[in-house]
């Protein structure tokens, strides 16, 4: 293998699911909404490299992994293993790929077949790939994962192992066929903290010993520095930032990464620091349009140039617009805060404002907001949305390009797109 060919290359990988459609949808020829679980992800994994993919639950990490091991079909894009695209694999290639790419799942409690002994679980991949000398390999690998003496474990069933021991066996099963790549999906997140550190340390040593490359998938930035040299931060199906681990931890560029980094606990009660706070939860990745996907939760969402507005207040407006767009305004809850059983539009608008806005707006901004809230109370959400958009449309509603902010450091954020950020005040039309 030449140095130029990376071990595994992912190019603009997309994995969309269709929202389940029923007979009625079929008859009316309604296009089902797309769930954009993985959208335009590119990654490169070189030999002996360990990279991490970080993101919240539901951001598409696991889908990415399942797509990589061929359990999901690819919607678009390409996975290239040692120069051969997966789409051109024949049967022998698949067999080779399956023995060289192994996976460790998050949940150690169901990662092993409860009906099989440890020996049987470990022998299975060897049997599938016709590898001989099983007994020695099984014992060897058990010692490598620090389960010794192996005799003590060989005849046991998973029920008789602790969580940490199970995960060690799962790691052993991945290593036993001496793969090139290990895909680890939050391998320690379900273990308790003391076990986590031990297992992580062991994994790090093992991937170095065995010369394995690894894609480490996790929601937990604090564990990443143990394992990976490079971090990809994923948000709602897209990679928003890629950088060497040390640098990204020290100086995160993307506001989302910043929020993640500041969420890493520091075990020092005297320590006080500014936390970047994210509000809300990520939306469902269904029918996402253009724009930065973090814009509704972003503390640094960019107001239009002509607008005089407080950052926090603008953020609330963006969040509210997003809710409105998704039709998720909780009218029922708002009505309950009003004493009047049959409130007029103004009362309703005031209640809405109280519920969703903590920061005061002023002047024109205030007028626009009130006007649209009244429209909303009047059951004209379209009018409200349009009014708000006219005044508050942000550059973040266009998809940011993935730019190289520094060498080896890519960010997808309008803050780092110098040209567009400063000059372009009229954002492109929304889809």
């Amino acid at each position: 293998m030449t140095d130029e060919t990376p071990l595994l290359e992912i190019r603009n990988l997309r994995k969309y699911f269709e929202e389940s459609s029923n007979v009625l949808d079929l008859l009316l020829r309604r296009e089902p909404d797309q769930i954009q679980a993985v959208d335009d992800v590119s990654l490169t994994l070189n030999e002996n490299e360990s990279i991490a993919v970080i993101g919240e639950s539901g951001c598409g990490k696991t889908t990415l992994l399942l797509t990589l091991i061929g359990l999901h079909d690819i919607t678009d894009g390409e996975i290239i293993y040692k120069g051969t695209p997966v789409s051109e694999f024949d049967k022998a290639d698949w067999k080779d790929y399956r023995s060289n790419v192994q996976v460790i799942f998050q949940d150690p409690f169901n990662a092993l077949d409860p009906k099989m002994t440890i020996r049987e679980s470990l022998e299975e991949p060897l049997k599938i790939h016709g590898i001989d000398d099983r007994d020695r390999r099984v014992r060897d690998v058990l010692e490598h994962v620090e389960l010794s003496p192996p005799e003590k474990y060989l005849g046991r069933k998973p029920v008789n192992l602790s969580g940490g021991e199970k995960q060690r066996v799962a790691i052993a099963r991945a290593l036993i066929v001496e793969p090139d790549i290990i895909l680890a999906d939050e391998p320690v997140s379900m273990l308790d903290a003391s076990t986590q550190a031990a297992v992580l340390k062991m994994m790090k040593e093992l991937i170095e010993d065995f010369g394995v490359s690894m894609i480490y998938i996790s929601h937990d930035l604090s564990t990443v520095s143990y394992i990976s040299e490079h971090v990809n931060v994923m948000y709602l199906g897209r990679i928003v930032e890629t950088a060497p681990t040390g640098q990204i931890l020290a100086d995160p560029k993307h506001p989302y990464t910043d929020a993640l980094v500041s969420a890493v606990p520091i075990p020092d009660p005297g320590h006080d620091r500014d936390r970047t706070r994210m509000s809300g939860a990520p939306r469902d990745p269904i029918g996402l349009g253009d724009g930065c996907r973090f814009r509704d939760r972003c503390p640094a969402v960019i107001p239009p140039d002509h607008l005089e507005i407080d950052q926090e207040a603008f953020r609330e407006v963006m969040e509210f617009r997003e809710l409105l767009d998704r039709d998720e305004i909780a009218f029922d809850r708002v009505v309950e805060t009003i004493d009047d059983p049959d409130p007029d539009d103004r009362t309703m608008a005031r209640a809405l404002k109280q519920e969703y806005f903590r920061h005061e707006l002023s002047g024109e901004n205030e007028a626009t907001l009130t006007e649209s809230l009244i429209a909303l109370a009047n059951e004209k959400p379209d009018v409200a949305a349009r009014r708000l958009k006219q005044r508050f449309e942000s550059v973040c509603e266009t998809t940011p390009a993935y730019v190289e902010a520094e060498t080896g450091w890519n960010v997808a954020c309008h803050h780092y797109e110098e040209s567009t950020n400063e000059t372009q005040s009229t954002p492109a039309k929304q889809h």
């Binding site: 399942l66 091991i69 061929g70 359990l71 698949w94 067999k95 399956r98 023995s99 790419v101 192994q102 996976v103 799942f105 998050q106 949940d107 409690f109 169901n110 990662a111 092993l112 077949d113 409860p114 009906k115 099989m116 049987e120 679980s121 299975e124 991949p125 599938i128 790939h129 016709g130 590898i131 001989d132 000398d133 099983r134 390999r137 060897d140 690998v141 490598h144 998973p158 029920v159 799962a170 099963r173 066929v177 001496e178 010993d209 065995f210 010369g211």
Partner: protein, 321 residues
């Protein structure tokens, strides 16, 4: 196993095991025996298991143990037929209206009863598991076709269907047992499909798939062992149902009256009009059918204890959910 070690792949050396070792190493058998041992830890379960064993022994050796020929008419000292005689030393369970020995008929009748149970239960187990696992694992159109067919079978009323089918296949002992199996697999198929779907989404199945295991391998090594306890449960239930139904069918007259199963005995007693006057003739086979069926059901219930024991196993969640 250091960096760059060459893989040694050899297709020739298969671990040589002696046949009895292979049987002992077989994981399905091993799991079955472990589970049985666990179930027998419970005293109630082992009590019913013992009854079942006795009935199976009766089925195996009954005809040999029978003191009299089943079709021999017995006479008293005066040369009169012993018509519906009450139990005595010679005939511990009395005689029928034709002077046959009831005790001998009970022993001989155990075999067809046990056979019915095994044929019916076995068919329920095999058809139900095959349909359920295939539908659950393969999914898609296969699943739709199989499960709609199962729904269709659910709509078939058992007794009328049996009467019609037996009309075509001819009245016979075997056909009545087959009919039962051909219908009753439907419940097993549904439940085992659901279990299969659950087992299928566990990480250990995904890992096996990701490391290249073929579909048959996954089904035989991972899916079947994990749905096996449920399948055995359905076997136990199936045996019971098959015996009850066969007795019912026999009573209605759609089974071979000359194979002296317990069901046939009750019918003969009813036909002769001696049902009330010679209770030993009708009550004994009736009680035996009841005890057999009760024992299979209660033994099946022992399955629940197994689940509690194995709290972390896949089935535990399936049952508690």
């Amino acid at each position: 196993m250091r960096v760059g070690t060459k893989r040694m792949i050899s297709k020739h050396r298969i671990q040589s095991l002696r046949p009895y070792q292979m049987v002992a190493e077989n994981h399905i058998l091993r799991n079955f025996l472990t589970a049985l041992r666990k179930m027998l830890d419970d005293r109630t379960t082992s009590f019913y298991f013992a009854i079942l064993l006795v009935i199976v022994v009766m089925g195996l050796f009954g005809p040999m143990l029978a003191p009299h020929d089943v079709n021999a008419t017995h006479y008293d000292d005066n040369g009169d037929i012993l018509r519906a005689e009450a139990p005595s030393v010679d005939h511990p369970l009395g005689t029928t209206h034709a002077g046959y020995d009831v005790f001998s008929r009970i022993l001989v009748g155990a075999r067809p009863t046990v056979l019915t149970g095994l044929i019916g239960g076995g068919m329920i187990l095999s058809i139900g598991t095959a349909v359920g696992v295939t539908a659950g694992y393969v999914g898609g159109k296969t699943e739709t076709v199989l499960m709609r067919f199962t729904d269709f079978v659910y709509g078939v009323p058992l007794i009328p269907f049996a009467i019609v089918l037996i009309t075509f296949m001819g009245v016979g002992f075997l056909s009545s047992a087959l009919v039962i199996g051909l219908i009753l697999w439907r419940g097993a198929a549904r439940v085992i499909r659901a279990q299969t779907m659950q087992v299928k989404q566990y990480p250990f199945v995904k890992v096996a798939k990701a490391s290249g295991a073929s579909t048959p391998r996954i089904i035989f090594k991972h899916i079947l062992p994990n749905v096996a306890p449920m399948a055995i449960f359905f076997l136990a239930m199936g045996v019971g149902y098959a015996i009850i139904l066969q007795a019912g069918l026999t009573f209605l007259g759609v089974a071979d009256p000359f194979v002296p199963s317990w069901g046939v005995m009750i019918r003969n007693a009813f036909d002769s009009g001696y049902m009330a006057t010679a209770p030993w003739w009708s009550l004994t086979p009736g009680l035996l059918i009841g005890i057999t069926v009760l024992s299979t059901f209660m033994f099946g219930r022992g399955y629940e204890d197994l689940i509690d024991e194995d709290a972390e196993s896949v089935d535990a969640e399936a049952v508690s959910a």
